[in-house]
Subunit: 377 residues, 2 copies
């Protein structure tokens, strides 16, 4: 945001003016067919094919990826992380120093805030996820709180901003990808600066050499390719915080920020697919329906499976960690014909998935229940 | 193909009848917008973002993926491979037996035969690749020729068929993915049954526990999740051989089979992207344009880089292996304004990339030159 604007008018008004001036959103949501721009994004960004819901931990090459800009080329030997701003002493750490610091390993389910976007009507124009923008990995690295304690966070600090090395233009704004966390979130013991994923070196596309992982939040908070961390005494107003990743009703609505993941269950599609239509076909008889469920707001307490509109409670396993998905399963005896299967999770706060879409302008947090059509032969 | 048909009429006619009866191809090529079915495929299948052309070897999670059906769940401990058919003695091998056999490691560039499909006009309806359906990996495993020698190939053998564990429906035909190679190709010393990729266990999405890798051929030949190998005394007539993966002019054209990769160069898009449009922006001044080039027909002998239609020869490095891509580079001093960059490879046979599309019905082998628009500021 240009400084002369933000000095003299309220942040909301500044944002609104910026919205109008720079065409922050590429186009209004559409009822029309997919655009060439959306295809380019779908081709670049990787989903987790839903059969990978079988795995407790998603293989790195199947974990979802949403990279706003190019994957940066970073030399791990010359790379270093700066921690500064409202702290008693700034730090500068290379990979070697980080590897000597205390480490933790945290199993975390990460979901893209835009998962489910392309199913909305009208369809916000951005990465056109269907339902596969998710994955679970074990992230190993240094607790952020440990390094912040070493730096000494000032008493007047309110947020911590994280800047990645990935650069480009979005909404007319030239930027490096950057996001912030409130100080209390940044000091959580399970928020990790990860240099390993599933026990091996962080792959380039997942943020090599170092990324943030914020368990329970949608993926946009977990900044990749970290280059700097800055403790702030005022709220961060970067593009990805104040313009993108907001629940808005229209372009003029300042909206509310996207943060914790909403409750969601997904099912491994049973049977086999048709190559082009992806319609599912399976034999009659007993089958174990299964999948995973998660929520950033609390433990998943139940998963109901809908079979042609009749809901049955599934068995839900203990999750391996507070913010990793829970396995669920329900035996079904499939009888010949066409069926619609769905699944619906509820978390400890009582929140449950909507049966119909809850629309918003950027297509964020669409956790409406999954529906799978199967033909039983 | 139903047996009663193939017994009484010619294979071509049988194929034609099958085409009409079963609607083998989902729809005629289209000038219209992208369909929901194409989006589903684009979301499932992974491309290699073009900035990964920087890497000699593509990290496994960035290597392209085209899976016709679901990724199968295979238990490596109980899995075994059957080698039979027109051989002196059938073999049955588990992973342990394979790991004790002689092994080779081969760097190979694999490209999807459908790469470039969505750029064709009209657009054949299938996986809507732009240009990113490619990757290079080092594949380690047992030479296929070694195992075939152990089995003893009969004198009247003409082809070797490979069947994967991945199952589904395509063109109305229920199938496990299967392809064949002529015997002389199967006996090449560099054709490998790979159980490792880039030095680590084959990931599930790349064919765990064992896949075929056929250097120089488009990716459809490199069957994943191998369950059986059968030596044949008659040509294989499976769907993926006789119906899919053919250069055809229309649905009734029996066409010719897709096999070796055509010559192609791709460029790392310079500068930085706009998130939504992916348009590139870069500063004026010197920049090193670079990329990779490959061909299944012979070594890449030159790469020309087009800058606003003027072609300049790039420097081309030796490839690390006969069928792995060659790095190329050309320094450019970018002057402000809008530019169109392109690159065009020529191989040892004299084959070069077409400047305009060479259309075919299934959208196979579209190696028309890449064009990148950049704005220099």
């Amino acid at each position: 945001m240009p400084k002369q604007l933000s000095k003299h008018i309220s942040p909301v008004l500044a944002r609104r003016r910026q919205t109008e001036r720079l065409a922050v959103h590429p186009a209004e949501p559409s009822d029309g067919p997919l655009t060439a721009e959306e295809l380019q994004l779908a081709v670049r960004n990787h989903s987790m094919p839903l059969e990978a819901l079988r795995n407790d931990v998603t293989p790195p090459g199947l974990h979802y990826l949403l990279d706003h800009f190019d994957i940066p080329a970073i030399d791990g030997n010359s790379w270093h992380l700066r921690i500064g701003g409202a702290v008693e002493r700034s730090l500068e750490l290379n990979l070697r120093a980080l590897s000597r610091a205390p480490s933790i390993s945290v199993p975390v389910t990460l979901e893209c805030a835009g998962n489910g976007r392309s199913l909305l009507k009208p369809r916000p124009l951005s990465q056109p996820w269907t339902l596969e923008g998710v994955g679970t990995a074990v992230w190993t690295g240094v607790p952020l709180a440990y390094l912040l304690a070493q730096a000494g966070v000032d008493d007047d600090a309110v947020e911590v901003a994280f800047t990645g090395a990935d650069a480009g233009i979005q909404g007319g704004v030239r930027q490096q990808y950057a996001r912030s966390l409130p100080v209390d979130q940044a000091l959580r013991p399970d928020v990790v600066l990860a240099y390993r994923m599933n026990g091996t070196q962080l792959p380039p596309q997942h943020g090599f050499p170092l990324r943030l992982v914020v368990p329970g939040w949608y993926g946009m908070a977990s900044v990749k390719w970290l280059s700097s961390i800055k403790v702030l005494s005022k709220p961060f107003a970067g593009f990805q915080q104040s313009v993108a990743y907001r629940y808005q009703q229209d372009a003029d609505d300042p909206g509310t920020p996207v943060s914790w993941m909403k409750v969601r269950a997904l099912m491994v599609p049973p049977g086999v697919p048709d190559f082009f239509t992806r319609q599912r076909i399976m034999p009659a008889g007993p089958v174990m329906l299964s999948g995973r469920a998660w929520s950033g707001h609390g433990r998943v307490t139940r998963v109901d499976v809908g079979i042609d509109g009749t809901w049955l409670p599934a068995q839900v396993a203990q999750p391996p960690a507070p913010f990793a998905w829970s396995a669920w399963s329900l035996p079904w005896v499939a009888d010949p014909g066409d069926h619609e299967l769905s699944c619906r999770a509820t978390d400890a706060t009582g929140a449950t998935q909507p049966l119909d879409q809850v629309w918003n302008y950027q297509g964020m947090g669409n956790n409406a229940v999954q529906r799978i059509k199967v033909t039983v032969e």
